[in-house]
Assembly symmetry: C2
Homo-oligomer: 137 residues x 2
Amino acid sequence: MSEKRETVIRADANSDNETLAPEPFESEFLAAREDVVKKVLSQQPDDEILYDLAELFKVFGDSTRIKILYSLFETELCVYDIARLLNLSQSSVSHQLRILKNSKLVKFRREGKSVFYSLDDEHVRSIISMGMEHVEE
Amino acid sequence: MSEKRETVIRADANSDNETLAPEPFESEFLAAREDVVKKVLSQQPDDEILYDLAELFKVFGDSTRIKILYSLFETELCVYDIARLLNLSQSSVSHQLRILKNSKLVKFRREGKSVFYSLDDEHVRSIISMGMEHVEE
DNA sequence: TATACATATGAACAGATGAGCATATGTATA
DNA sequence: TATACATATGCTCATCTGTTCATATGTATA
């Protein structure tokens, strides 16, 4: 249990009258640490945004989806071709495209019986490129 | 079933003598699509790299880890302070820091009983910033 | 070296996730 | 409108993941 630490500190709470811990400070050093902790907290974005951010990266965090996104770097592709290209089932690709669509990472257009998907956002390229730089080190 | 689509296309296969589908082309249009698919495949990075890339984004894909990383944007922090700051258990923070450490996203130094963690890579900031741009739209 | 503090880690459990199957929906054409 | 093709989706299952608890390891100090 963490009942002792139940004093929750929130970025949106007014912090002037709040102590971060129930114990009195024992030294200047501890007091300085308190200030750092408070400062970090005040600079932290809202929980909701950080949650959304994690959700976004979660979408990139699957090799099937990464492969699909990479396939769309140069050109739009229909579902069947993506499946063929990556040796995946049509169902799997369709499920993943839905996730990518919901995250606004891909868009689509219908052409006859086929649906062509393409990247919806230049951020996709930037994010993947940044990740690639880290991976390739 | 997708038995008809069993003809697997691989990036590492030599592609000159391979047909992408068992059926003969029915039109120029289909032939052009074949070329596109082949081209996309040849430009796709190795599976291993794409897998590593997905693994990296998976690390960013958890709000606890995102919060920890964000906390380290400005300053190094010890485990206990991170836990206090984010209202998490010491154990949980320690487990997550290990994952971040293994991905080379954070580094640490020991100072007495405490261990101070900090960002290990400027890419962390870039990647998170890129994600933030997308989320904040 | 005994004790307290700070962190790390193994095990277990609940919840999330991705793939495949079966089938529904949408579209073109005979 | 019946049929075939292309895609989407509900369901299920095996696997993965994050948290907690209990405890081990590491460090400073009385």
